[in-house]
């Protein structure tokens, strides 16, 4: 993720219900860091524009709300981060699939057994919280993305470890 940001990439986040609020929380962490002096990084939650979400949903079906936005707004250098507490959200799955086709780095925060999303080759990085309680899954997700945010900055400040062959 740090490598993508380093090259000018942007982060797109998405999820349904409670996970939509996590998507927005992640975006604000990156855009407006809580630690003074940290760089603002470009991040946008695809759940925030209610005109787009309801518009795409009504015209193209709810399953396309994230994929559509990625198709027309994202580029190959960007990052897609989808959140699905049971790994079975169709729109999140389709968002990740589209992102992968476009060449984005794909990250998934999942729960339960990881569902379809963990099984398909959709996410470059999948974090699966092995609990069937969506509340417990969310609580672990919050810590996970707080740590992810912090680690992105750690690596951004270490250009020496950002070379692609090192990251791989």
């Amino acid at each position: 993720m740090a490598e993508r940001f380093h090259r000018g990439g942007r982060l797109f986040t998405f999820g349904n219900g409670g996970a939509a609020t996590d998507a927005q929380h992640i975006a604000v962490e990156f855009v407006h860091p809580v630690i003074v002096g940290k760089r603002a990084l470009p991040a946008l939650s695809l759940t925030g524009d209610i005109a787009t979400v309801t518009g795409v949903g009504a015209m193209r079906g709810f399953g396309d709300i994230f994929a559509h936005q990625l198709r027309y707004f994202a580029g190959a250098d960007d990052i897609a981060l989808g959140i699905s507490p049971d790994g079975r959200c169709d729109d999140v799955l389709r968002g990740l699939r589209t992102a992968r086709e476009l060449g984005l780095l794909t990250v998934a925060l999942l729960g339960g057994d990881g569902g379809e999303i963990a099984r398909g080759p959709l996410a470059d990085h999948a974090v699966v919280v092995r609990s069937d309680d969506p509340r417990v899954v969310k609580e672990v997700h919050v810590t996970t993305y707080h740590v992810l945010w912090e680690l992105v900055h750690v690596f951004l400040e270490q250009p020496g470890v950002l070379a692609p062959e090192v990251i791989a």
């Binding site: 409670g18 509340r135 810590t143 707080h146 912090e150």
Partner: protein, 212 residues
């Protein structure tokens, strides 16, 4: 030294040896995971009975036809929305309850901010919607957000049940006279605070469902 330097002293020593960096971030991540578990345990030890009492009063308010209004800024605004979504549309066999986050209508939020000031964005909405018997639930990591303080003052004036989630020392929220319930997460880390608050409101929701 910045907070990031304190957390990752190695990274500022000038070396870029990947293995050492990875070892450092691995141990700091484990430390954070342990920290949040310990924090949740200390919140439970301190607030268990108060959580049960708060949920009983929230259930009573819902039983009387009350509605829940939630609010917060930044990351806490997303928690406010999560709380409202959880009460209104919990899924499974849980009972849906009337709840609204005061952070989501951007026309209202920008109109109030532009015309009057950001400190009234929640208070004015409670002025319009709030009735005796409703519930006002606000989340802040510092406890010092001016718009939360104003909202709680408005809610108390209207006879609403008031519930606050704050962090660190509780800030100005801890000094508010008449706040019915205040839960303070005793950590100076904004992130650990939000994580523990997530558990706090999940528990409040579960206990409210149970009481109903």
């Amino acid at each position: 030294m910045s907070e990031m330097q304190q957390l990752y002293p190695f990274l500022y020593s000038g070396s870029s040896d990947l293995e050492a960096v990875m070892a450092e971030v691995r141990s700091s991540t484990v430390e954070k995971a342990n920290e949040i578990v310990a924090l949740r345990q200390s919140v439970l030890a301190a607030d268990e009975q108060r959580l049960v009492a708060c949920a009983a009063e929230m259930a009573e308010a819902f039983r009387g036809g009350g509605r829940l209004f939630t609010f917060g800024n930044g990351g806490s605004s997303t928690d406010a929305q999560d709380v409202a979504a959880l009460f209104l549309n919990p899924g499974g066999d849980a009972r849906p309850l009337p709840a609204l986050a005061l952070t989501t209508d951007v026309a209202v939020v920008t109109a109030l901010s532009n015309d009057i000031g950001f400190e009234v964005v929640f208070a004015r909405q409670l002025g319009a919607f709030g009735r005796r018997g409703d519930i006002a639930l606000g989340l802040s990591t510092s406890g010092n957000s001016a718009n939360l303080i104003r909202a709680f003052e408005e809610a108390m004036k209207r006879g609403m049940l008031t519930v606050g989630l704050a962090g660190h020392t509780g800030g100005q929220m801890a000094e508010l006279e008449g706040l019915d319930h205040l839960f303070v997460v005793p950590s100076s880390s904004v992130h650990r605070n939000q994580e523990a608050q997530t558990t706090l409101y999940h528990v409040l929701w579960e206990l409210t469902q149970y009481a109903l």
